[in-house]
């Protein structure tokens, strides 16, 4: 009968696009903000 595609960790009813937070083919949950590399102003790169 195939998989229950609503149980693969994707919010299929989301009004926004899924790809910007897509965690990848094996991820059970979307990316969190701290997982997403972002082009912040260079001054923020304090480390």
């Amino acid at each position: 009968l195939g998989q229950d595609l609503t149980a693969l960790g994707l919010n299929l009813n989301s009004p926004e696009n899924l790809y910007p937070n897509f965690g990848g083919p094996w991820a059970e949950t979307p990316c969190r903000p701290q997982d997403i590399d972002f082009h912040v102003p260079p001054e923020y790169l304090i480390n």
């Binding site: 998989q3 989301s14 696009n17 990848g24 083919p25």
Partner: protein, 507 residues
């Protein structure tokens, strides 16, 4: 071969030098200055003097980075996090060097130098990967290559004017490399490969940001590479765990595409269904369920739904595969066209099956892509033919035509396996409201009504039912066809023996 004496040592020295520069405080504050100092050092060692030396430098340094990773991976009692930190410390510096060389090579206007260098480096890394893959076999590790490709892709997709100007060529270079490294060629890299192809930045660039959908064709080709690799494993329903994982990963990617880029799946559905095994029902349903976001689909269960009154039902869907050219050989295509036009040569119908049959091996008897192309081609011609008479396709206008002769001949003349593939080719066109969905829905119902044996009616029912009993999603065209079949008394559906063959089937 024939690396100039001392090149290996020079390369190792320069790589170490670069890594320490890359992590030094100066680079943190002024990366470009640190880089220009290093380029002078490379020049000093004559590395940038000729194309050949640059190639050798990159191959040797790639090899060194990879060998280093294998050493870290082999260290006993090391944790995955520690291994990765050590590997990535070197790999990320190496990637930054490549990115800076690509960005600053040639002058700003001459983008060819940059792209040529990028293609060269991608080709070298791919070459080292394939050689490593063939040498180490099951000892092969994807880690270093995955990291190099994804970090280089992310570096070259930072929003900077120089890079934006060459972004389409960068995407093309990566798609070309990923095609060379497709899972059928580097199966040990398959999981990393799907990670790269479905990375959020890669999807965004290929399907959303690149203007005029110029990335769609390349992305479709990569998905076809994936389906072709999965096909033999999915064909046999029992899936080993490694295949199940890759299959579930593929479903996740397709769900993202269905949700965010349904028009992409609409445009390329034909090419995808050509390579997805016929028994892979849910994945195929997922692709066929896509419909344009600006379209509102009427509820298929609406009583007395007048499908032929829907505005979109007359529009032909975009099919970006040249399916007509897939009807080979030319002589067969010529006879087909002549039969469609003038119902001659009469032998065309009786020869039809032999043109489609390629072996006597059960389960492998027919040329599926040819069957799919023939059905869609004849159907598309039929729609035009009916339209040119100022009519619209419906249960009477589709009848008594050379097109329907062909379909009825196939329904009667093919064996069970062949007819299953034939009916699948029709059912693959039952999607969102468009002229193909409408015509093929009528055709399927017509074949059911005109069938001269109950076996054909049972098989039509089976083909529809197996697509309906799997978990969602279900294509709109499939639902309205089956509802019509079971509700419209014309088809006397419930009178058939096979409908009552088992209580759960009847239910």
């Amino acid at each position: 071969f024939d690396d100039p004496p001392g090149l290996l040592e020079k390369t190792e020295f320069l790589l170490r030098e670069w890594i320490s520069i890359h992590y030094s405080a100066t680079a943190g504050r002024d990366p470009t200055r640190a880089f220009s100092i290093f380029v002078q050092q490379m020049n000093g060692h004559g590395i940038l003097k000729t194309d050949d030396l640059i190639t050798r430098f990159f191959r040797l340094s790639t090899q060194m980075c990879v060998d280093l990773c294998y050493r870290f991976l082999a260290e006993p009692a090391s944790t995955p996090t520690l291994i990765r930190t050590k590997c990535f410390h070197t790999l990320d510096a190496f990637v930054r060097l490549i990115a800076l060389l690509v960005k600053h090579s040639g002058d700003a206007s001459n983008t060819n130098t940059k792209i040529n260098l990028l293609n060269k480096v991608l080709g070298i890394v791919a070459g080292v990967l394939l050689q490593d893959h063939d040498n180490r076999l099951t000892e092969f590790q994807q880690l270093p290559y995955h990291r190099i490709f994804i970090m280089l892709f992310l570096e070259l997709n930072t929003p900077e004017p120089i890079l934006e100007a060459i972004n389409y060529q960068v995407l093309t270079a990566f798609c070309h490399t990923l095609h060379i490294l497709r899972p059928a060629k580097a199966s040990g890299f398959a999981y990393a490969w799907l990670e790269l192809v479905s990375h959020r930045v890669f999807i965004g660039r290929m399907l959303a940001i690149t203007p005029q959908q110029k990335g769609w064709g390349m992305y479709a080709q990569l998905l076809i590479d994936l389906f072709k690799f999965l096909a033999p494993f999915l064909r046999n329903a029992e899936l080993a765990k490694p295949v199940t994982l890759l299959y579930k990963g593929t479903l996740r990617v397709l769900l993202v595409l269905l949700h965010d880029f349904p028009e992409f799946l609409c445009d390329y559905h034909y090419g995808f269904c050509d390579v997805i095994p016929p028994n892979c029902i849910q994945m195929r349903n997922l692709i066929l369920s896509a419909f344009p976001r600006n379209m509102r689909l009427p509820d298929p269960f609406t009583p007395n739904l007048k499908v032929d009154m829907l505005p979109e039902i007359a529009h032909a869907p975009r099919v970006l595969t040249n399916f007509a050219s897939m009807i080979q050989p030319m002589s067969f295509k010529k006879d087909l066209d002549s039969y469609l036009k003038a119902r001659a040569p009469v032998t065309f119908l009786s020869d039809l099956r032999s043109n489609l049959q390629v072996s006597n091996e059960p389960g492998m008897r027919y040329n599926i892509p040819l069957m799919n192309a023939l059905v869609l081609y004849v159907g598309a011609q039929a729609i035009n033919f009916i339209r040119n008479k100022g009519l619209t396709p419906n249960m009477s206008t589709i009848a008594h035509s050379s097109h329907m002769d062909i379909f009825q001949n196939l329904a009667v003349d093919l064996d069970t396996e062949g007819r299953y593939l034939f009916l699948n080719a029709i059912a693959n066109q039952l999607r969102y409201p468009n002229s193909h969905t409408h015509y093929f829905s009528c055709t399927l119902l017509y074949l059911f009504a005109e069938a001269n044996t109950e076996a054909i009616q049972e098989q039509i029912t089976r083909v529809l039912l197996e697509r309906l009993i799997v978990n969602r999603p279900h294509p709109w065209g499939l639902l309205i066809t089956f509802i019509e079949l079971i509700k419209n008394p014309t088809y006397k559906f419930w009178n058939h023996e096979f409908v009552h063959c088992a209580p759960e089937i009847e239910k």
